[in-house]
């Protein structure tokens, strides 16, 4: 019996047949939403500065990321946009990250200066987590050079604590990062991806046409190890990269996400590498990791090649509790969709699932699983854009700006690309990089924030045409880390069940809202929600109304969030 049959049988046995994969070949589900570009209306005028001046330095084409973060805890998601800067000797204008405060009316106000984030850096990515468990989300912005940790003071400002936290003095080409409590001590540790050993003075000449310099592929540079920092609980971190077994000087990492492939409650780490095998670090529960990407079937493509892994996403796609992994890759490589075939073993099913074909022609970066139409089946969003602005001259048919994918879950294990049906604004080609998911207008559905390289960001408001409802949970840990990162939330309604893991990281250089959102269709209530905290605490709350956001505080119960 294969896994699909096993899951079907098992779910049938417990009355959860609605989750079992349906027959293939069913009629395509129509798209019932529009993604409206409300960037201008929202007053977000940010424009990414790659610093490009003609020498085509590698970092210029790789950034940057973004985040949905409620930094002031007013219940409304704010927007953080990471920025690059001009290269030394080629300074034109000052450019910094931008923090936009949500005015609760669909508009935002740039509060970068007031928040103390008006700091020039060649930023790449961002991850948000309450590392000091004070209730206020802190920021870690990765950069080419020194990445920075900003502690949220709770007064609308951030303080750069990079040096005092012990994270200073490190120069690297850092990309995605993720807060994760690897030792489950209730304090968020920090995982940072590093791409290659690159510096302006180390840049090499690469050319796609033999004459003009072009952006190099990572083969031209040495890899660099990812970093893992243990939170000491006193505002400082200890580098446990070497002792934990994470160290790998050959890695060229761009994306990372939290998974628990063996279901033992210890967070494992899946890292996407560019031109190197992807890595799956299995948490041994003793402060060390054992790498097993090849054995798990996630290191390579289905034909055994190491691809150009960029963004990553993970989710329990079929309610079985086992994660499915998505990885975006270079064009002509196809995105990977690694479905579990047995505990801890995956198979790339991108082609069969309908993702491989459309993604072959695109160079994917940010990606995220999100139930955009709230039908109970998670969809996959992928934003694209080539790294070479001259690719049109080199390969007929290839374009620099590329349309995104909206792989709509058909409910039978297959997806179809419905991006063209989501509105002209969304389907417009972009040189996209970062992608974050969150409900900035608090209408229950999930909106998208997309960054483009050396261009504006795009805020897409999800306008649902159906009457589907959602239910959202924001976790507050007491014994676990305060963000509840690593907790598994499972809801039961009727004969169906869905689960989500609270996680930072994922996508590419970006951070999505930590709250977990479930689409429940037209249901008014769910039967119950069960939360498995990283502290091993289990909590269950029955009979909850949908259309609301709940705040679940570990061991202290559940309440409806203000205003919802």
């Amino acid at each position: 019996m294969n896994r699909r049959a096993f899951v079907h049988t098992a779910l049938h046995a417990v009355g959860l047949t609605a989750l079992a994969p349906g027959p293939l070949g069913a009629a395509a589900r129509p798209l019932t939403l529009q993604l409206a570009d409300v960037t201008a209306a929202a007053g977000i005028t940010f424009r990414h500065n790659s610093g490009a001046y003609g020498d085509k330095l590698l970092p210029e084409t790789m950034g940057a990321g973004c985040a949905f973060v409620d930094y002031d805890r007013d219940g409304w998601l704010d927007v953080l946009l990471v920025n690059g800067m001009d290269w030394p000797g080629h300074t034109r204008a000052r450019s910094t990250p931008r923090l936009y405060h949500n005015n609760r009316d669909g508009t935002f106000t740039d509060v970068t200066r007031q928040a103390g984030l008006d700091i020039e850096m060649y930023g790449m990515g961002v991850t948000v987590g309450d590392f000091d468990n004070d209730g206020w989300p802190d920021l870690f912005i990765t950069a080419v050079g020194q990445s920075r940790l900003f502690r949220n003071t709770g007064k609308g400002t951030f303080v750069d604590v990079t040096t005092t936290s012990g994270l200073g003095g490190r120069q690297a080409f850092s990309t995605s990062a993720m807060w994760v409590d690897v030792d489950r001590d209730g304090r968020l540790d920090l995982f940072v991806c590093n791409y290659v050993k690159w510096a302006v003075e180390r840049d090499v000449f690469c050319s796609a046409d033999g004459r003009q310099k072009s952006y190099c592929t990572p083969e031209a540079f040495r890899g660099d190890t990812c970093w893992l920092f243990r939170n000491n609980g006193n505002g400082t971190f200890t580098d446990i990269t070497a002792t934990s077994g994470i160290f790998d000087s050959s890695a060229k990492s761009l994306g990372v996400t939290l998974v628990d492939v063996d279901g033992n409650g210890w967070p494992d780490l899946f890292v996407a590498n560019d031109t190197q095998p992807n890595k799956l670090y299995r948490n041994q529960g003793n402060g060390t990791f054992k790498e097993g990407g090849v054995a798990a079937g996630v290191a390579f493509s289905a034909d055994g090649r190491a691809r150009a892994g960029m963004g990553v996403a993970s989710i329990d796609l079929d309610g079985s509790g086992q994660p499915t992994l998505a990885v975006t890759n270079f064009d002509n490589e196809m995105a990977g969709l690694y479905r579990p075939v047995s505990p801890g073993v995956f198979r790339d099913t991108a082609v069969a699932a309908g993702i491989g074909g459309p993604s072959r022609a695109t160079l994917g970066f940010g990606c995220a699983f999100a139930d955009l139409d709230l039908d109970g089946a998670a969809d996959l969003v992928v934003v694209n854009g080539h790294i070479d602005d001259t690719v049109r001259n080199l390969r007929p048919g290839a374009t620099y700006a590329q349309a995104p994918h909206l792989f709509l879950n058909q409910g039978d294990g297959a997806f179809r690309d419905a991006a063209a049906e989501a509105g002209a604004a969304f389907a417009r080609p972009m040189v996209a990089r970062g992608l974050a998911v969150g409900d900035f207008d608090r209408d229950g559905d999930l909106d998208l924030l997309v960054t483009t390289n050396n261009g504006p960001c795009r805020l897409f408001r999800n306008d649902l045409a159906n009457r589907h409802r959602s239910i959202r949970f924001r976790l507050v840990g007491t014994r676990s880390n305060r963000d509840g990162i690593g907790a598994v939330v499972r809801i039961f309604h009727g004969s169906t069940s869905q689960s989500r893991t609270v996680h930072s990281g994922g996508s590419y250089l970006s951070h999505s809202d930590l709250a977990v959102t479930f689409g429940v269709g037209l249901r008014d209530r769910i039967d119950r929600v069960v939360i498995a905290w990283p502290s091993s605490q289990f909590e269950e709350f029955p009979n909850l109304a949908t259309g609301k956001t709940y705040v679940c505080t570990e061991t202290r119960g559940i309440v409806v969030a203000d205003g919802r």
Binding site: R170, D248, S249
Partner: protein, 448 residues
Amino acid sequence: MAGSSSPTPPLLAGLVVTLLAVIASAYYMTSQITALRTLQADVADRHRRHSLQLLRIQNNLNAIGLGMRDMLDNDGPYPLSAWSSQFARLRADLDDALHVEATLTAADIEPDQRTYLVQSVGQFWDALDRTFALDASGQTAQARDQIQVSLQARQASLSTAVARLLARNNEADAETAVRVRGIYDDVQRQVYLLIGATLATVLVTGLFVIRSNRRVFARLAALSDERRELARQVIAARESTMREVSRELHDDLGQSLTAMGSMLARVVLRLPEAADRDDLREVQVIAQATLDKVRGLSQSLHPSVIEDAGLDVAIESYLSGIERQIGVAVSFERSGAFSRVDPAVAIHVYRILQEALNNVARHARQSQARVRLAVTDASLVLEIEDHGPGLPSTNERHGLGLVGMRERATLIGGALTFTVPAGGGTCVRLTLPMPDAGAAASPAGVTA
């Protein structure tokens, strides 16, 4: 067919030869394909998998080399021991690759080469462990020296050894490819040979069958001609005999009986006694009756009236007595110029009429029949029609009478058909082309 042999034995011999050739070729090709499959599966595929493992080993060695380079160029905060987990992963994969490679090593790989490789890898890991131990004991400089002096050299030596194995594998692959090509060439030649032999056999057999068929058909044609000539001669001889007997009866016996009657008439006139005269008159009556029978018999053996008065008169004369003889009333319709009918042909028409009416008497169980005779410039048509039960079914054996009718019709160049007239029964139709006025009076070879 005296003097000719049956084509079956040569054909059977050709078939056997062909089958043997096909079986032999199939056996040869099957054995060659089996050998090819074995060669590809056991040798080529093993070489391929062996090469893949060697490439995996080489890849690991390259990764080890890069790792050592990174250790020496380390500008980060990490001690050399940080690389231990990275090398542990490489070691695990390298050891696994060596284990798999050992199961795939080709026989043409010198055992010493593998032994050297395995021992060298072990020595490398020992040296690496010592290097990490040096670093752990604070002797980082000595550890770095160890990497530069010893480990990098060992890694290079291992890479060279694996490269040699790969090169040897490539050579073995090339040799295998040559052998595979040789087998393909042999099989291809064999296929061509089989095709050629089969085509030649089919050609020879075909020509032989054509030649045999021609001979058979020629024999059949000759036999048919002989049979036709024989039938003509038999019929002619019969008619000739009957004509001679008829003439003898009419001219000889008839004259004698006529004379006997005349003499008896004269004797009767001279006898005085009435009783004697009565006795002689009875003898005279008997003689006259005998004379009439002789004349009738003569007429039936050969109706000389045909030569004397023509076919139509002969038929009319015949039919005039037929009702009395066979109990069938026959109507006669005639048209045309009967003088154009050659007596040699007419006798056969007459005989066909006789046989047809005999058949009517025997089978039709009818009291009436109709005879039509029409002669035109182009043809003579004789029809004898009755409304009896009709012709016997085709699977019943026809009597000799019908055969004789057909033979006669064929002999005079006519055609005999049997049809069913409206109302049932049988219509026997003889159609005979009439010769041109200036042409010979009788068909070639027809005599009566």
